[in-house]
Symmetry: C2
Subunit: 522 residues, 2 copies
């Protein structure tokens, strides 16, 4: 009986507040108390613990209870027991580190006074009540197997609901077995390209989301920009690049022989092509880069971020290109439900379901927090995508999938979208009214649809205006942030104003700050 | 006025059931009807549509309404309008493909009569009511920002709840800022190794989940097996491999110079090592392969699938190895909450939080359908993991995260785990009773914990017994399915019986079928 264990025993009984009368067995309580004392350093490494009978007497416990507790903690590695040397605190149980110091660089910049960043729906409008009602119905009626290992393709309830919804609202032609549920647009890109279902190079619009380009770069996919004008993406550049190549380089087929895309075999004869005066401007270098692209990523309903729909002739032309060449169109329908001044433009997918991968999500319509998206696939791509996803990769929450299916089938999703359409249209009108009053020389583009507008700025002024908006405490991007680094089309100056982002009460003040930052009337 | 458009107009008015009195505008109804007719081939490509005024008169509409509808469908690409040639169905709108033929090979094998596959909790026991109550509380109290873009680290509410829960139940020492939420164990492996946070080669137990090995192989990580015995993983092999290498190959440090793992710099002096008679068996080749492993993946609480806990001395030894070498231990605590005959063995992580990556999920405790898991990280790995995850990769549903946080804080999670522990213990006891009665010569291992047991079989009989179980309509695996292809330890024959999987009403019949398939008393 040394001082060391007597002190320990005292500490165990006193300082450590062993609540032997608490819930659970006294043995469990003793284990917890001793473990905690070792964890937080009150019992230092090497400290010898009192013999069973002594501690048992001190604490009014049976000797076996203490012996069991010691044995348990030896089993867990907190204590060591050696014949003849008693039970000691294990040498490796070090005292806890001090609480982690706060980061020097905060992970997110301090919140700006006014948030007009594009890309988010109004977070305050999430339909909590409707979602909970749908969740209750969905969880109460789901079969038990729904709580087992998931189908990587996604719940059939949701795929069925989406097939109907997308046909009705977006003119998408599909069946539930062509739909694969994923966690959003980024996840879809990762599966398609990271999973070797599709291969680069990939043509993209000269202005687009840098996040998508970096995802693609990570997957080793080269992106090649095509130009934009007031009719949308200049898809004829796809053909011009190709024609040039066919003329100058007919024997070089190396960049088409790799890869095993199921659609590669379908290359056919040259399709007739609508042509378009603007393409003449494209430089030879860009044309050369476009040769051999194997897919094109477009935002046909509402070019992101510049705002217009793809012209009908170009919709036709790009489908013709994909058919004639055995290529794939990726249709990013990120906000196709939000149109204000006309009927929705149907999805390009409806023109040829075997050539278009249609991609959508609830990130704009409900919330990015739900992490649910979908791919509508050509028949030949369904199995390759599922192979890339793998049996155990059903990453989208089944509970959310069942809930969304119910929300769509019950009409709650439509009601929410209609309500948000009205709200966002009012936001847009408020923006236009503010411009009208305070900056009538600034025109807004892309205003027929979506959750953002582009304010056109005089050439060369974007950086200065962004300094002024930052000075006003406004978070927003200029068009330059979205420009592809290899783009050859003339640069455009503008501000991308996300009018869905701020809460209602903060919106008018954000608009006033914005107008103060705009260049004065010339 | 040709026959062609008259027929079309008739079809539009009659067969197509244009519901102009339905919901929405008459113009929208007409657009829908025409679009549908083109989509499903009733209006063939090239068909000329009637002039506005004729169709307007037929259908009792204003002429402008028809003109608008045509213009919309031209904009969508369904129709083409050319000066002097009227409006026609666009040539590329092909008739729909016939419904997809059913797959020749079904994606999942037909359901067996009795499912004793390991790996799933009882799907019928998902706590629907408790989950819905937690969801209601969580959604009703969540701040609006919860529905905005997520924090890739995971919701603070859940990380806070987990830090408390894991400390209390598993002896994990952590703070919320060391926890990163993910979608399950597989996602964690992908982030750690695919994201270049950790590097191979990785030592793994000779028996383990093939899914994990294939995930690692996809990420380019070589796995090297270490042996198992009745005391768990023979972690001394890590040191022996290393010592041998240090002796024979001291100048070759190439495989340590790559990579930038934050823990690499901490390599220290040789730690003292408990040794263990069994390791003598390890062959030289295996020892050589173990040299230079940079991390080890273990299932210390309940070796998967063979069943024992890691011996206390080995827990200590592997932590010493990791410290002395600057290596990392990955602790897969896949079913640590389910122990039946003793207090839970605490997590190895508690011995040294700076050396152990602790990994857990709700896949066994609640349901794999929830897709929620967590990593508890050494401080130095938090930022690298977040960098690998990326700002936009918050793939775990925020709604589920908030709900689980509430379920834990409200005690509902503990209640569910307790209830399931009782249920699974009863299942296990039922299995043991059945064996006792019908196959007393077969011993069950790994029965102190978890959702599965291993029935030991006489050497060389596993394949024959698996044939017999298949004949009885039982889905289950033999031990061989879990063996690492490079394992050098002697093979073991056994059946891995997942006793949590079947629904209650089917369990007794499954056990009876199982006993019929076991080898007769010798």
């Amino acid at each position: 009986m040394t001082d060391s264990w007597v002190n320990s025993a005292e500490r165990i009984g006193a300082d450590l507040h062993v609540e032997l009368a608490g819930s659970g067995s006294r043995r469990a309580a003793l284990i917890r108390a001793l473990r905690a004392a070792v964890q937080d350093g009150r019992l230092a490494p090497g400290t010898r613990l009192p013999p069973y009978r002594s501690l048992a007497a001190d604490l009014g416990l049976a000797r076996n209870t203490v012996a069991d507790a010691y044995a348990e903690l030896v089993a867990e590695g907190w204590l060591t027991a050696r014949q003849g040397s008693g039970t000691r605190v294990a040498p490796r149980a070090e005292p806890p580190r001090p609480a982690r110091a706060p980061k020097k660089v905060p992970r997110r910049a301090a919140a700006p006074a006014h948030n007009l960043m594009q890309g988010q729906p109004d977070a305050g409008s999430f339909p909590r009540g409707a979602w909970l009602s749908a969740a209750r119905r969905a969880l109460n009626t789901a079969p038990n197997e729904a709580f087992g290992p998931g189908d990587p393709q996604g719940r059939i309830e949701l795929r069925r609901a989406l097939a109907g919804y997308l046909a009705r609202v977006r003119g998408v032609r599909t069946t539930p077995d062509r739909i694969v549920i994923c966690s959003g647009f980024g996840h879809a890109l990762r599966l398609l390209f990271g999973g070797q279902v599709l291969h680069g190079p990939l043509a993209v619009e000269s202005y687009g989301l840098p996040f998508h380009r970096s995802l693609l770069a990570e997957a080793g996919v080269r992106t090649v920009p095509i130009g934009l004008d007031e009719q949308g993406a200049r898809v004829a550049e796809l053909t011009e690049g190709r024609e040039r190549r066919e003329r100058s380089d007919r024997s070089d087929r190396s960049d088409r022989s790799e890869g095993s895309g199921g659609l590669e075999g379908l290359e056919g004869s040259e399709g007739s092509e609508g042509s378009d005066g603007c393409e003449r401007e494209v430089r030879g270098a860009a044309r050369a880069a476009l040769k051999g692209v194997r897919a094109v990523l477009l935002t046909p309903a509402h070019q992101f971020p510049t705002g217009g729909p793809l012209h009908p002739e170009r919709r036709a032309a790009v489908v013709d290109w994909a058919r004639a060449r055995g290529r794939v169109i990726l249709e990013d329908d990120y906000d196709g439900e939000f149109r204000y001044d006309r009927e929705p433009v149907g999805a390009v997918q409806g023109l040829d379901p075997e050539r278009v991968v249609y991609l959508g999500s609830v990130s704009k319509s409900l919330s990015p927090a739900v992490r649910l998206g979908w791919m509508v696939l050509p028949e030949q791509l369904v199995d390759p995508v599922l192979a890339a996803k793998g049996q155990r990769e059903a990453w989208a929450s089944v509970l959310d999938q069942l809930t969304l299916a119910d929300l769509i089938e019950s009409g709650g999703y439509d009601r929410h979208v209609r309500r948000m359409r009205q709200r966002y249209r009012a936001r847009r009108d408020q923006l236009l009214a503010a411009l009208d009053e305070h900056a009538p020389h600034i025109t807004a583009a892309g205003i027929a649809a979506g959750l953002h507008a582009v304010l056109r700025l005089p050439p060369g002024t974007e950086r200065a205006v962004l300094k002024a908006t930052a000075w006003q405490g406004i978070a927003l991007d200029g068009l330059a942030a979205y420009r592809h680094p290899d783009a050859t089309m003339p640069g455009q100056d503008g501000l991308v104003v996300g009018y869905a982002t701020p809460p209602d009460h903060a919106y008018q003040a954000a608009l006033e700050a914005l107008c103060r930052a705009l260049p004065p009337t010339p």
